[in-house]
């Protein structure tokens, strides 16, 4: 049975923890709003990009299409780009992305394929380095970045494309967490290379375009750009998802701390009462004995 003093110390420390988690929740809520705005601001670009790409892809016969679109025709070696957050304390956010990537990598390796991994974000690296120490080709650290800019994404994209050009892999898959809502983030795998143009050519795109320089050249520029855009989008969704996850994790942490304080206060009061009763009994029985 802890003494009164111990209980008092416990209560004080849980209260301090509660204050911290509460503050973190509020910070996450503010950051979430900003992240959501950024994700929304980026949406028009990626939507238009998808439409333009689908249009241009229709015009180019499969044989002329750049290798980034057709792939190498094999699928022996895979590159996994795993995007996670830089910080923890956000529930199962990072581990669920890492788990998806790990399962994927295990399955590929069981099929006898080569797997290489690029991790974006410290947490993904921490989670995967134990199992795949030899597979991790590179880690990208975005710790110093306050607001993710397009240049961050295009750096990663040009790295990936360079590796593809050097023949290091045949298929590239991007792992990130899709931001559904504040309480729901779905870890997602999306194939980057070979790029699928998606059959989403808009109806207004029936018009016959003229191309300057020509369609194949445009595709050559368009597809690397599209990869960068997809990575950029993934990073933004990740930030929004991380903040959402952190918010709900910190919310339940605050609630748990509140419950704990209640319980501790109850047993503190009970013990105090017991002690008073004990002292009273001592005084009364002492007086009776006289």
């Amino acid at each position: 049975m802890p003494s009164l003093k111990d209980l008092k110390i416990r209560i004080a420390s849980v209260k301090a923890t509660q204050k911290i988690t509460k503050a973190m929740q509020m910070v996450a809520a503010a950051k979430l709003r900003r992240a959501q705005e950024a994700a929304e601001a980026a949406r028009p670009y990626s939507e238009r990009m998808g439409a333009v790409l689908a249009n241009a892809a229709q015009m180019v016969s499969a044989s002329e299409a750049p290798a980034l679109m057709n792939g190498t025709g094999r699928d022996d070696s895979h590159l996994l780009v795993v995007c996670t957050a830089e910080r923890g304390l956000c529930g199962g956010f990072n581990s669920s992305i890492a788990r998806l990537a790990r399962d994927h990598a295990r399955r590929l390796m069981a099929e006898g394929k080569t797997v290489k991994i690029i991790t974006v974000g410290r947490k993904g690296f921490d989670a995967l380095r134990r199992d795949f120490a030899n597979q991790i080709a590179e880690r990208v650290d975005l710790r110093e970045v306050r607001q993710i800019a397009f240049s961050n994404a295009s750096d990663i994209a040009s790295n990936v494309i360079e590796r593809f050009g050097a023949g290091e892999f045949d298929v590239c898959t991007l792992f990130y967490s899709e931001f559904k809502s504040v309480i729901s983030q779905v870890p997602t795998a999306r194939q980057l290379i070979p790029a699928s143009a998606g059959g989403e050519a808009e109806t207004a795109g029936d018009a016959v375009y003229e191309y300057e320089p020509d369609a194949a050249d445009i595709l050559n520029v368009l597809i690397p750009r599209n990869i960068a855009v997809q990575i950029f989008r993934a990073l933004l969704e990740n930030v929004a998802g991380e903040m959402g996850a952190k918010m709900s994790a910190m919310d339940s942490a605050t609630r748990n701390a509140g419950e704990m304080i209640e319980k501790l206060t109850l047993s503190y009061n009970r013990q105090r009462q017991a002690q008073i009763t004990k002292e009273l009994i001592e005084i009364i029985s002492g007086a009776e004995a006289l």
Partner: protein, 136 residues
């Protein structure tokens, strides 16, 4: 008076402009072109340069873009710019930095083709710098 059409300038970070304009001068990689309403559908890559829009009232607006795509349809024109700002907000250091990078690319170029590309990029950027300093 010419008819107006919908013009949009989008950068990866945000939608910069979405408004009705009468004409747009687009720095296409094969040369500048002026787009007006009912233009034939064209898709073109952009070189670094200045986009000038003219609104129905005649007032013009100028933006700096660093490469990207133009998607031109009879009823609208969408520019997907790699990075875009209005001319008045351009950071001169940013331009200088890009020119610096382009110079390095020229010296680092391994084969003739990439060298030619890098040199073209450099000359576009230098022209752009002049145009910006002149418009100030």
């Amino acid at each position: 008076m010419a008819d107006s059409f919908k013009f949009e300038l989008v950068s990866p970070e945000r939608l910069l402009v979405s408004e009705d304009v009468e004409s747009v001068v687009v720095p296409g990689s094969d040369g500048e072109m002026t787009v007006m309403a009912y233009h034939a559908p064209v898709m073109s890559t952009l070189k670094p340069g200045i986009v000038t829009t003219t609104k129905t009232g005649g007032q013009t607006e100028r933006y700096v873009v660093y490469g990207g795509f133009a998607d031109i349809l009879p009823d609208g024109c969408t520019l997907l710019a790699e990075s875009a700002t209005t001319v008045s907000e351009v950071d001169p250091n940013d331009v200088t930095q890009r020119i610096q990078n382009a110079r390095e690319d020229v010296t680092d170029a391994k084969d003739a083709e990439t060298k030619a590309d890098a040199e073209a990029m450099l000359s576009h950027l230098e022209l752009l710098e002049k145009a910006i300093s002149m418009s100030r």
